[in-house]
């Protein structure tokens, strides 16, 4: 009953409004044209108002006049989209690496035995790889200078005389001098456990050698 009442109210308003607008129209040859358009408008409005009774939606999106100018070909659009996506991926990976390096550095500095000056992280860099962005290695740089409140510094050991398995420093396959003291092993173990990676992927090197 309420819906019928609302429909009748709407129809009364529309009809009264239409009559008044017709009175406004100029009495020329344009009169018929404007009257035609107003008749169409009344049909649309009445259908929309009546649609609420039959629970249908007659409110359409108004069609815009289409321009005939040809747009760029689909392949170009797709190519641009892929280029943009890869650029965004690279940017996201760089920001992720920077954030992770800061985290690692903060974690490493929690211990007071070694003066950790810098941290670098390595991630899997192939975008096609399903494990793209996974943490693949951590390099911690330690300095010889003592830290405030620390108990000791890194021992200066001649790199050529160190063998694997002993405390001190060793040279890896790339020639980087690895710090191999107990404190360095402990630090590497902590970082490896925190990020759930093998301890071999965490390297502690002397600052300026990486």
């Amino acid at each position: 009953m309420e819906s019928i009442k609302a429909l009748v109210q709407v129809l009364v308003i529309i009809i009264v409004m239409t009559v008044f607008i017709e009175m406004l129209l100029p009495s020329s040859i344009m009169h018929d044209y404007v009257k035609l358009v107003m008749g169409l408008l009344v049909i649309v409005v009445v259908l929309e108002a009546g649609a609420t009774l039959v629970k249908q939606d007659f409110k359409f999106a108004l069609p815009a006049l289409q321009q005939n100018s040809p747009g760029p070909p689909l392949a170009t659009i797709i190519g641009e989209g892929q280029r943009l996506a890869s650029k965004n991926k690279e940017q996201a990976l760089t920001e992720y690496q920077q954030g992770l390096a800061k985290q690692v550095l903060a974690l490493a500095r929690l211990q007071k035995d070694l003066n950790v000056t810098n941290a670098q992280v390595k991630t899997t860099g192939n975008p096609e790889d399903p494990e793209y962005g996974r943490l693949a290695g951590v390099v911690l740089e330690v300095s010889d200078s003592p830290i405030e409140g620390g108990s000791q510094t890194v021992e200066k050991v001649s790199p050529v005389e160190i063998t694997v398995g002993t405390n001190g420093s060793v040279k890896d396959s790339t020639g980087t001098i690895l710090v191999n003291s107990d404190q360095a092993k402990k630090l590497a173990q902590t970082v490896a456990n925190f990020y759930n990676i093998p301890v071999e992927q965490v390297q502690v090197v002397r600052a300026g050698q990486e």
Binding site: V37, M38, L41
Partner: protein, 128 residues
């Protein structure tokens, strides 16, 4: 009241135009044109008030404002075209007046295209 001013202006301009038409016909045309523009400007605030009332009514009746705006624009186009064509006819340029009316008709039909499409879609949706 405005109507006295408008009628008085019309009468004065009419007499002047009759006098001028015999001596300088172009001046008579310019005079009537100016008078028409002045009357149009005088009535403009009242037309605006009427249009704002129509907008309120249409919002009460849940009429899409795009439709209402289109209708008001069409009324405006009709008035302006009528105004221009009457001036041309008064100046003896019946052909030009017809062209103005032709352009106004096309513009009105183009503006009515969204409403026509909406009617067609409504009718098609009603068909089971």
């Amino acid at each position: 009241m405005d109507i006295f001013q408008i009628v008085g202006l019309g009468m004065v301009v009419c007499v002047l135009a009759i006098i001028l038409r015999h001596q300088k016909p172009p001046m008579a045309t310019l005079l009537t044109m100016t008078a028409g523009i002045i009357i149009f400007i005088i009535m403009l605030p009242q037309i605006t008030a009427v249009f704002s009332i129509f907008r309120d009514l249409s919002s009460q009746a849940n009429v899409n404002m795009v439709y209402m705006g289109t209708i008001l624009k069409i009324v405006g186009v009709a008035y302006i075209a009528d105004f221009g064509s009457q001036i041309c006819r008064d100046a003896g340029e019946g052909a030009l007046a017809s062209k103005i009316e032709f352009a106004a008709k096309i513009i009105v039909l183009v503006m009515a295209v969204p409403i026509i499409v909406a009617v067609l879609q409504s009718l098609l949706k009603l068909v089971p």
